[in-house]
Amino acid sequence: MQRRKFLALLSSAGLAAAMPVREGKTAPVNGFSGHQDAVGVLHDSARCIGCRRCEAGCQSVNADAVPPPDKRRKPAKPFDDLSVLDKKRRTDFQAYTVVNKYHIEDRSAPVFRKFQCNHCQEPACASACFVKAFVKTPEGPVLYRPDLCVGCRYCMIACPFYVPAYDYHSVNPLVYKCTMCAPRIAEGKLPGCVESCPKDALTFGKRSELLIVARERIAKNPGLYVNHIYGEHEMGGANWLYLSPVPHKYLGQPELGKTSAPELTSGALGSVAMVAGIWPVLLGGVYAISKRREKTAAEEQKQAVIQAVAHAKGEADVALKTAMTKANQEKDAAVARETKKAREEAIKEMEAKMAVDGDTGTTSGASDKGEDA
């Protein structure tokens, strides 16, 4: 069990909410195969005659445990009235067990099947109960603790056999279901139903031995039974076992896989720890990323401003420098131009003078002086 749960945990690691491990999809692991000495009952539909004595026996030993009949509820029909068998019935808060009659095609006689809590080896009700109000005892019976029950009725949702019943008209209601007569068993007595069966259709004993008995009956009576002991493997196995001359599904027994109820939900429950462990990391990371992004954005903005200012300043400096250089150049050029102009004018003057005086010697002297300037 521990190992399987661990594997289930592993299989769901890394997923937000997980999926239970399904039969055949993981490495085979040995499941829980029931408490060694647990007792149970074998019901044989080939022997059952639908006399309802088991119902009467159940009622007589459990009369004090169930709420008394009151005005609002319709009175139960006496146990010798077999007309109730014509209608499909189920267990309720005043009847821990009922017998149903099934008409099967190609069979002249109807087949009967007794209906009560199957006392599963890994009970769905106990797995589903959020206050541990159901206990699977090592002796076999699945027992209910009325002092803890909140009345959420999830056990009734979970039970694949539609067994637990509720007292809907009570102000302080409880769940009711067969106890396998655990107090009587502890006293060494038989369960009420088994004790009152006139046709030996109910056999009480150790579950392991009941399986042997059931196999022997199948082997010794060829053609009488279908080769299936209902309850041997269904939902992890039950402490009530059934033999039937017709496929069990015709007797209102659902076709169930071998996967037990706890296995169906262990993966999802295991992933809770994964979520609790990894979500803070992921969310913290997301928070850190968004914070960092904000910070980076703010820093980038700041940098951009600094750069823009620096850039603007640089550009201004360059522009100033260029302007200065240009101004200097223009000044020089202007000086040169003016000098040149002055020189040319001087030359022209000189030429004009020379043309008047006819003396060439002074011309070159004046020219040298102008270039130096």
């Binding site: 206050v131 992933s271 969310l283 914070k291």
Partner: protein, 400 residues
Amino acid sequence: MNAQHPSTDNIHNKTTPAFSPGRLIRENKLTALLIAMGLFVTVIRFTQGLGGVSNLDDNYPWGIWISFDLLCGVALAAGGYTVTSAYYLFGLKDFHTAVRPAVTSAFLGYLFVVVALHFDVGRPLRLVYPVFVSQGTTSVLFEVGLCVFLYLTVLAVEWSISAFEWLGWKGIRTVIVRLTIPLTVMGVILSTMHQSSLGALYLIAPSKMHPLWYSPFIPVFFFISSMFAGMSMVVFEGSLAHKGLHDQMDEAHLRDADKITLGFGKACSIVMMGYLFIRIFAIAMDNNWNLLSTAYGKWLMLELLGFVALPSFLYAVGVREKKIGLIRFAAVVTVLGVVLNRFNVSLVAFNYNLPSAEKYFPHWMEIALSVFIVTLMVTAYRFICTFMPVLREHPDYKAH
């Protein structure tokens, strides 16, 4: 300052005349009627038992109080964790004005889920047992109960900021504001757990569930759908609030409302598309294609095409064309779709193999009680938004 907070005047106008129950009832006739009906049902429930007010029986231990009040209630209150994580963790600053309305409605949503559970469980005084008396740790419902209990506490603390601002208790408000990030992270963790676990409740009963709705991935479906359920509810509630509580909103709320609607519209459209794909993958994984031609298959197609694909598309168009009205319509369809899905899982797929004579249909008093719970919630929301800084900022406190 006062111009930005027109509501401060309103508060005085509303409270200064002597408190008169008669006038209050005259002004809220429908609310008064629904609450009176709810009180009537409450009396019968606690004097005659569950059987006196409901059609629940041994085959259908869970009716619409679970399907609607619990499953839908929790999914539609998911706006709390989606909005707070978007704003505080993912840093989507546009959503600021959506935070308080979302936290308020999530808090009230969860509070009234718990109120409704007091009607549904047989012994409401023992509702604390799973947490304090006997912990059934193997139960998915234990996990749901514990998470809802813790998350309701988280939401109460997150929401209390509005109340403390109203009361003017600055010291404790400051302490709680400092806890915002851890509270938000806890909110997401707890929501991930119990939103998915509400789906996981049904994992235990594969033989009772129709295969088209039973999948090992049902916890994932419930979690993912809670995201768009919550966001759509925020959009939907927003549009209602703009009709009924317009005068309680400050400029920032009115200004950002459309931006928020567009943001959630976009998110919903994408998440719903992903959700549609994983729902289809689940059909493929279990090879349930042949079931699609059955009546149940057609019903599933209606759920997936009419209430997931269609609103996803409408959201996308609404966002692209910036049509706020279309997005609000898509939000309504989405909310109805989530309700349909939760009912399909818990009432249509559950016990699908029972003959129709044994099927459940709610008693009128069950419906009346659910309506009563919703009425109480809306009334509480109106009260809070009228007096506390939810749809507006309190002038004395800056945004956090």
